[in-house]
Point group: C2
Chain length 339, copies 2
Amino acid sequence: MARSSVSIYDIARIAGVSTATVSNVLNGKGRFSQATKELVESVAAEQGYVASYAAKVLREDRSRTVGILTPDVSNEFFSAMVLGAEATLNDAGYSSFICNTGNRQDRAAASVRSLMEKSVDGLVFIGGSRGAEPAVVGDLPCVLSDYETQTLPARCAVVGNDLRGMTRSQAAVLARRGCEHIAYVGVGTGGRRWKTSPRYLGYLDALDVLGLEPMAALESPIEGASRDEAKAAVVEAFARNSSVDGLVAPGDRIALGCLDALLELGVEPGGDVRLIGCDDSVYSRIVTPAISSVDRHVPEIAAQCGRAMLAMLAGEEPVGQVLVPYDVVERETTLGPSA
Amino acid sequence: MARSSVSIYDIARIAGVSTATVSNVLNGKGRFSQATKELVESVAAEQGYVASYAAKVLREDRSRTVGILTPDVSNEFFSAMVLGAEATLNDAGYSSFICNTGNRQDRAAASVRSLMEKSVDGLVFIGGSRGAEPAVVGDLPCVLSDYETQTLPARCAVVGNDLRGMTRSQAAVLARRGCEHIAYVGVGTGGRRWKTSPRYLGYLDALDVLGLEPMAALESPIEGASRDEAKAAVVEAFARNSSVDGLVAPGDRIALGCLDALLELGVEPGGDVRLIGCDDSVYSRIVTPAISSVDRHVPEIAAQCGRAMLAMLAGEEPVGQVLVPYDVVERETTLGPSA
DNA sequence: TTGAAAGCGGTACCAT
DNA sequence: ATGGTACCGCTTTCAA
């Protein structure tokens, strides 16, 4: 069912040579005459021969395949990451298995197991869900990006932005534009632990430096549809305390929700209340008013993920940590509507 | 490197049973005592045993894996499709290999080949690129969605919307709102052949029924960044002929480009010129003015793709063609800014 | 330059 | 209930 039934034996038999020779010719290894080469190649083509990867993997104990785990490729940030990492890997002859974990530990664990069964040569973890992977991956090369863990896998590279620095920059921008009551919209970042997250700490850093008082951070316990949550959280927060004049959002979907809230509340984004998101997605550019954001250089992060993996795959030592620069992009929600 | 080195032989030896028994226990097949079961399971767990998929596939000649080919998962329409199809497949115990072809024939062909090497049990083609696959896939079950081909694979289901009907509906909506000079923005749909595409034909259908004259369709030879292309095409078209008062776009990115163009030209979207896109992506909802669009019921298409594949995988006859309904969603660009 | 054969890690048939 | 073993398709020594 799965595979056309013609095997290397068939080719060998029809061509009147041994399987060793067929293998050599088709892989360009070893020595063989030009005549043999042509013969074998023509027979193989004629028969529509497709080599069995399974047999190859079984024999070679390496699959030239890596697993990429991500919460959800329908999220534009993750899909761009996956696409970029995959491209880099592909160029080097590696395929990738993409797994959507839905940000759930059980699915992530199942995926890791399934990937290991498939003899993947490495694992790339992109985004969100943290779990007990290190225990199970053994010495499989791993790349982590935007991934929180307590214990790193044995052979592991970490690539991404300086998250703490990013929120620091976001808050700083708001302050520069005159905000004095800046809140962090801690929605959808993973529940209970977000108050110790690098991003939140960066926010605190900035306020500390600026001599401003941190606002009771806006927060919602639910993960998932972050846009609506964020909206609800902001609306509710303003009902409690309307002195807020700056919002730091850790992602553009959340920022979108903030914008929804501001519009609904009738306050002027970029005027009464300034707002800055993160990821610089298309969304932030096309809404009105356009949302200031942080360009994380996603293509570069993705490529670096791929490269870090390839380096380990080639037997090199893990590169350790790779920091990719980011840029603040100001638009109407910090510059004001006139911009 | 790839796999932890503990094999079924190790488990058998340590547990003091045969490999056959280990296999039976771990797969819940055959007969064995409770004691044996517990023994084997504990040894396996203890040793961190992970079965080799490669060996399994080689032996069973089926991989419980399907290949999903798509132009580009960073496109929100495709990523939603992929995600949905994958989910349905996953629930039934199938993994999927996702391949981004970049809409290029050579990459698609290479991907198909690579997938077949990997003994995938089926192939799902989502979107755009048409090629000579049917010749090479043999009797592998295939699902095609939004995929143009002349010749269908042997075992094949086609699932998606009635494309011709969709553009017909789009044009009809514009006409109902009073448009009399409706143009089809044929950008990025694949170059030379789009004038025979179902979508374009649907547009012609509608104009015919309505007794309107088809406009020289706007067109751009380049594929790719459809938004900017569309903008350029529309701007240029208006320079030539400013009587156009309705635009049918085959996708939201293109619609976005149309909107850009209208705004740049200083004509009022929804007033002077009405516009309707397709796919009902987030974009169409969050821009100002909001773009009317066609909700294609993507989650349902995706699920049907998965189900059609599963049915064939289970040995059933291909379901043939599955048509998924769609809805027109009117927003400001057809209803007018007051809406 | 070519070939014979072992072995990768499972599964399943056939004995016992 | 359990074990022995052939076999899946390929790569890779080692010999010829």
